[in-house]
């Protein structure tokens, strides 16, 4: 899922400073699951903004709604009528959701309330870790299902660097060494032979380095 983190309240207030009629729009998919931008988080931010406005004796109207999936036009179109008539829309979705609303509502400013952080998984309740960088050429089949692109700080493809100590990465904290994990897992699977072949430098043109990416499925186009 896409993991995001709400922007600091001061930054959000700064972005909204000039507007009086504000619509907060959450997303019921990834950012809801990571407790950042679902209906509950929309309600909390709206409440905070109302309290801050009331304290500052300012008259602001804060409305709330959540779209099931903000990055898909069908879901946005379903409720488009409710998104008009505001001075500004503040999206609590990931960057894709924000841009979907900006494209769909060209006459209304659309602002982000969330910093989109990474593609990750829920390791345990409230604990999210980065596991994919969407590099466009998946190598998980070679490396035992553990991604050296996203989980190794140096994105190494031919073994660990010299900084791995006791299974931990030299960047510190509790970050595991991805290469320790790769070797442990391949040993368990009796597939260490996977690592005998030299892996040539990755073609990063399929990643973000090649510019904005696009996927077109002709068979799905109506």
């Amino acid at each position: 899922m896409i993991v995001g983190e709400r922007k600091p309240f001061g930054e959000i207030q700064g972005l909204l400073g000039r507007y009086d009629n504000i619509l907060l729009v959450g997303c019921g998919t990834c950012v809801k699951v990571c407790f950042t931008g679902g209906d509950k988080e929309v309600a909390v931010l709206a409440s905070q903004l109302r309290l801050a406005a009331a304290k500052g004796k300012k008259k602001k109207t804060i409305s709330e709604m959540t779209i099931e999936r903000q990055c898909e036009i069908e879901f946005v179109d379903e409720v488009a009528g409710k998104l008009t008539g505001n001075d500004v829309i503040m999206s609590m979705a990931c960057g894709a959701g924000v841009q979907m609303l900006a494209e769909r509502f060209p006459d209304t400013p659309v602002l982000p309330a969330v910093n989109t952080t990474f593609l990750g998984l829920l390791q345990k309740q409230g604990h999210f870790v980065e596991n994919c960088q969407g590099c466009g050429t998946c190598v998980l089949g070679t490396f035992g299902g553990i991604c050296p692109v996203s989980r190794c700080a140096k994105s190494l493809f031919n073994g660990p660097c010299g900084g791995s100590q006791n299974g931990k990465c030299e960047i510190g904290g509790d970050t595991p060494c991805a290469w320790q994990q790769i070797i442990d897992r391949l040993a368990k699977l009796k597939q260490l032979d996977n690592l005998k072949a030299h892996v040539p430098p990755k073609n990063w043109s399929t990643a973000r380095h090649g510019g904005p990416r696009k996927l077109i499925r002709e068979d799905n186009i109506l």
Binding site: F9, A43, V44, S47, Q48, L51, A54, K55
Partner: protein, 136 residues
């Protein structure tokens, strides 16, 4: 001070557990809006923020001791939620001290007057909420 608007979210087990039928009536303290919850674990930050939005000067949560929690882990969760809500309040410009958590001895029903008198005394410096009383 006497006019402070207090909203209290109270775990119903904390209020009544241990009392026999006929030994109790509905929890009531003059000047306090008491909202009963099935457990303090049901209390979400948005409930607390909404109470302040509605004009509460002080919001109190009454919870059971974690070891006695009828729903096993409910009261364990309230501590972190209170801390988080205090941060949210501070960001919005309200004093976090306006949110009070009390772990009470069950059944708290019989000692509510003393309990709230103590809370009022401990928070008397705060005065009315800066949010105003428009919605009251």
């Amino acid at each position: 001070m006497g006019n402070l608007n207090i909203t209290a979210l109270c775990c119903s087990s904390a209020l009544y557990e241990g009392l026999k039928p006929g030994e109790y009536s509905r929890a009531y303290v003059e000047g306090v809006q008491i909202i009963e919850t099935p457990c303090s674990g049901k209390v979400d930050p948005i409930y607390l923020l909404k109470a302040f939005e509605k004009g509460a000067d002080l919001v109190v949560v009454l919870a059971c001791d974690q070891r006695l929690c009828t729903t096993l882990e409910g009261s364990k969760r309230i501590h972190k939620r209170i801390e988080r809500t205090k941060l949210l309040l501070a960001e919005a410009g309200l004093e976090p001290e306006r949110l009070v958590l009390r772990i009470v001895r069950r059944p708290a029903l019989k000692s509510l007057d003393i309990l709230f008198a103590g809370i009022k005394e401990a928070t008397k410096e705060l005065g009315p909420s800066p949010v105003g009383r428009n919605d009251r």
